[in-house]
Symmetry: D4
Subunit: 252 residues, 8 copies
């Protein structure tokens, strides 16, 4: 239940469209619904403006489906299922469809991001940069989460520092952005470079792309944290979802 | 030279208050002044809205003083000297005073943060939380940088998760903040907790406080990056300056 | 041979129900039986009150079966087979069944926990908390070992700090518990939070759940060890078995 | 305010010895007192049975003194100052003495542990083992905290596995203990050995003693966590305080 | 070509059984034969008393077979193929059989050790201890290499420190051994214990057995290096071959 | 477009063989072609003398094929596809063949290196050493990249320090080389040894070959960086491609 | 004794300026002089073109002095003493002065680099870039070693990626250089950037400058090794000496 | 009490030179003397042939002195005090002198090794190699411990692989040695090289000498463990004492 839904409920009570008993019953479900294997947090959208997201790994397809349906059962914001495998996607989309909700599925190769009930479009400009083509799956997760939240991010792929002019060709977009997500593996230098060019908020996402001394993304993570460009902040390795949420907090 | 200073210069040219020759001479100094040991970036405030900051360690007191004076020589935003030792503070404040600029010095024990020419006050609400009293030096660096940038951050110290009610007593401030900086060592759990309560942007600063398995702040760093609260972003260990800059980007 | 079994044997000798020769033969098997590939420790239950547990990985199904049967051949406490793969489960349960012992099998997905000859029920209250649904396999291993030892643990799943109220809803159970096991991955903050609320013994189990900067559970491990809540003690990553044994020591 | 103190207060109200107004004023101080630089947790002893401990590093002597006096101002259990340097000890003991409280100071060389208002003696048997003489400072911190909590721990120093018979000479004490703290550096094998002998709760404290491959205690920490003796639980490196608190939870 | 083979060759020249030309041709092959993909070291047995061993991983079955045959083509000591997969075993044993050499194959599950032309039996007593049954594959590699070198090692499996009496039952063998190999995973404490009991050379082999905090054998490796028992020396993780070679150097 | 191609284009304009309009259209494609998922850098060969290389992992076969064809569409130097899987090789070679370009494929087992349009042969002498046969796949990647760039490297395989004479047999080649690439896993000592013998540039490539304490190549990487032979420089683990590029820079 | 000195000696023998006996005596000193605590390598300059360098740490001032004098006693190339403390500088320069050799001392704050008998000037262009002013001590070590070897390196300080235009102002120098040394701490991105601009050999030197997540230079080291700019090679942290030697090999 | 002392005691009883009561009193002191802060192991020399060594760090000078005197009070083998600071040396030598025992003190700069009552000279040949002069302090600790045990080790300093001929000049000594200790920092390649030349037992001691990527000796440690020379075994970083003890076990 997010803030508009709560206001609507109270207005319905005021107008008589909803009985007090019904309102109490609905509100009594706050703050969570206990499914035994999960305590589904209906209060999160109200509190954090993001809504609870179902993280796929370690859950059975049935658990995913039940939590998604539970979340969709409340009039609130977008519902997300991340890092889902094909069985989880199938179970959750089928169950949600049975409840009348259509899904948007973004398949990033190793996993999928699924969203239901996207927010209305918002006008703030989000730019997602990737250093290379291989960073696209992480950028896609980020982009699909941003889209569920109402943003229309612009993606500029493959503008890493080995060919500097490829980034410089997008300097205007960098300077105009309200928030920038930088997705880069290997040495992650793109975050420093972008941070040196624009004053917009930079959320850096290290990726596990690379070899030699990339250490599965640890090198990019450390490099981004040690960036000489002041004010770059960082999320975990391959965490496109986290970066999207950080942007949602920033542009709320 | 920041954006208002640039506009003022052009207006002066338009009004005749500044000759074209003088304007050219001033603008020709862009983008940097080469002092031999440093290329002072006069363009940064315009580009990043933060201005170049002088990082003390590894520089002689004289180098610090010369860079500070060079930066103050341009009509721009705040000038900062961070992680300065007493000799650096003394040399830089004396040289700046000779040029007519008074300093604000925040001494955090192991190092000092010095600022000149603070920005005008801004109304956005920034909340700085610390898990313990020992995290205060890092929070103080963050706060003094924010103040140079015009913010009036509110500090709530010592509200770590071992006594949860201490944080809950400040829930209203958490919910009202435009941005929250969480400064915590040991296991850094305060970032997750704050991120679970508020939807505001959270910039987490791990500190090197703690022992046993704190690994000089690495544990808090990793824990904050792995936070189960979506959208928490992180800067480097003890990097109160970086957190302030991230907030400045977010609230620009 | 645990303490009650030893007392019973001696009483049988005293009453004539067991000849001295038989008693000597039985006791001569102490302290272990050498199967060539294993020295089965019949003395452990007497010494540690836990009994020797068969750790599956690296053993052939036949080795598992032979050790289990050897252990069941002595009148002692529960016998456990942990981290077993399907072939090991099949071989051991079949061999034990042939010897007249029925098994309890808890399948946690990646591996199974099998127990025979559970202890009589005990009244001490053990609470097992998990931060998320994905932590359930580890919690299940812990719970099944506790049940073999006679406890009836209460499981509260998915009460991580991103939705604090989910834990607060169980505060009474936390305050009433004789021992609490906290199972959490990612940043493992639930251990600190639980430790800050209750004065009961807390055994924290980091899990390998998570990504980004979870480092296969190392982050949760370090964070739990660095907990600001005093007196939290920790076992290895995903080691639900170890946590159950620590509880058994505490509540012996 | 711990549980007995709370009961006493309510009894005083019932008997008229305390006015309702006074009781309200006293209780209104719950849950904490905000000193600006610290939120002193008067509720912790009631909640956790341990009381808030003042961790010295990073605090000024004056801050230490003010927090200690604030804590002593409430009728509750023991008050502790740990990892204190000489100036902190001097300031805190002087301020407490002025308020009428005498201190017990245990100096471990690199730091001191100070306690006030110890609990009444308790009869449970705690055994503290050290692998070597160099582990004594950590054991001393543990012992002094245990003594403040009313225990009379027995210390057996220098019984590491290089001379196994030194430990075997104390087997009876191991088997009789209600809880065992094992303090060991280098490879930390003593924890496994003790855990293999007794069924009592084992709290293992790795120390930073050793060289060669001790990695400042990380080796002992990992080894204790990986112990083949089931149910050994572990606290952070050199964390004698944490081990004492874990014992206090276990024997509460 | 090892020392006895060299002496035999020279004796044959002296007696006329071998022409000088043949001897020159044979000796001219020293120091190695270049197969293009490998420089086969015929000189190693003479120099190191061990002979060159073919390490399987990364080589094709054909490369293994050709190197083995090349080595067998010289009258020298044992030839070994380690860490071989089934295709490598098949190719090498077939090629060697065609050249008239029978093989001894020890299959350790994940890989096999193959030896040809074992040395004559030697009388020195080598004791191989394992902490658990799961350490047997590493111990088997060690044992098979020792056997190729003429030793008849005695294996005592599963005598880890969780059940101390299992090791104490073999104290006489420990005291009588000329060299002891300790194979242990988890916390590797068995090396310290054995080193504390006997004055014989101890070669410790950490294994990757274990979980929780075993870090794939790194914990045992560090613990063995940090052993408080003086004079324990260590080889790499799971390196049963290396331990056997160290013993061969010691007992040469 | 590399330097000769640019000169040729300008000459064609001068001679009338190319119209100014065509030249402008061609040059306007600088600096890159944006394929959406990739910004193909046509300027790199001119700038770095190496040309853009397509790194396979994380790209679809179609993406690989389209980038390769795009790069071949410009008259420039060699085009490379590295770390390619069979589907990528198939797609890229087919697409390039359709455009009239034949490929050279070097299959290193786990991955393939593909090159098109090799440079003319160059006379500088490059020596590639490997410590063992298992290092050959990395050396093969290096060699195939060098060959695409016109070099005819000499490979000496399996001359590691365990049999020193195998390296000494190639001392003349070492002293005569214009550049030496040392490919070694395990402890990587061959780099120090080669660096101690020759004054030629040494590019060291650590490989992930080995076990025990090789840490997937990290040990060799660190050892090569810490080499006591002055002036050895290092590239990432298994990065034969990077070493070839470093040689190309050195011998340009 | 380097190559020219050797040729001169032989010419002197031919011309009668040196007796055969003297030549034999001189040559018999090859390959080293054993001082007991050091085996001084007179052969190194001939072999590696660099000459043996005396690494100060761990040597007494007297040992430094004796080795320097021993090296100067042969007619060869430059002699270097690196990482020297004041006592070592004093002892070595005094002893060398007594032998008639004047020194060049470069003091980098924490340590000094001393050189004697520099090589004749060479015309190859070496560019040394630093990311920040704090990287200057490492750059100074590199520069002073290059100067002893006859180069006249050009230093461009403080051109890190946070202000990209500062590097772009030196693009012509980058493109014209015969070799480039990049000295950078923090995230070390300057190496990737420079490598993306020029095709010259790049030797990257990570420095220990920075905090937050710099890990004493490990982050820069890893980032440089994982650089997306092909063909960047790397030396150890703060190893300006090593970088100079790598350049000397490249430009020999 | 070592073996000869025990035999002498029993002979004295047999001859009447010692009364049974005295013998019982003496033997009853086995296995240790409890000084409160230490359990002095009088049994160790008998068991391990090395005797208990007093490790200085973490002990007070008085504790060192008392343990040394206690050990000297029994007729046994050598007594050692290692890693002692000046106060410990002073206290221990004074106390021992008062008891009639003279000391041999080897000062290695950072610490001293002290020995009393050395064993009679033994004829086995021990060779101690160091890679550089800076490794001498560790080699000196090793040598002084070996000398206390009766060996007369031969030291060859500064024969690292950067100048291979310096080692080759000592090949005969390598081939003749009964045991070789290799002391090396940086990349530790000397161990592999020596192991490739000789078949004698090799005990490798990594040292913390070096910079750049030496990681305080961890690089040398890993490299030695990963050595391609079969049968090299390793002790901890800078652990010259441990290497000497390993040699003593080997040559017992």
């Amino acid at each position: 239940m997010d803030a508009p839904a709560l206001e609507e409920l109270l207005a319905d009570v005021a107008s008589g469209a909803c009985t007090v008993d019904d309102a109490v019953r609905r509100l009594s479900r706050l703050p969570f619904a206990d499914l035994g294997f999960a305590r589904v947090d209906h209060h999160r959208a109200l509190r954090q403006r993001i809504g609870e997201t179902v993280y796929g790994p370690g859950k059975t397809p049935e658990q995913c489906a039940r939590i998604v349906v539970e979340l969709l059962g409340e009039p609130s914001g977008p519902v997300l299922l991340t890092r889902a495998d094909p069985d989880q996607v199938k179970a959750a989309t089928a169950a949600a469809a049975a409840a009348g909700f259509g899904a948007t599925v973004t398949d990033s190769g190793a996993y999928a991001t699924v969203s239901w009930r996207p927010r209305a479009e918002r006008s703030r400009r989000v730019l997602v940069l990737t250093a290379g083509t291989a960073d696209l799956p992480v950028a896609d997760e980020c982009r699909s989460v941003l889209e569920a939240m109402g943003f229309r991010p612009r993606l500029v792929a493959d503008c890493g520092v080995a060919g500097l002019h490829r980034l410089l060709a997008s300097v205007d977009e960098l300077l105009d952005a309200d928030a920038v997500v930088v997705v880069a593996g290997m040495e992650g230098a793109l975050a420093s470079l972008a941070g040196g060019i624009t004053g917009a908020p930079i959320v850096a996402v290290p990726t596990s792309v690379g070899y030699g001394a990339s250490l599965e993304g640890v090198t990019a993570l450390l490099a981004m944290l040690a960036s000489c460009a002041a004010g770059v902040s960082v999320v975990g390795i391959d965490n496109g979802f986290g970066a999207a949420c950080a942007v949602a907090r920033i542009l709320a």
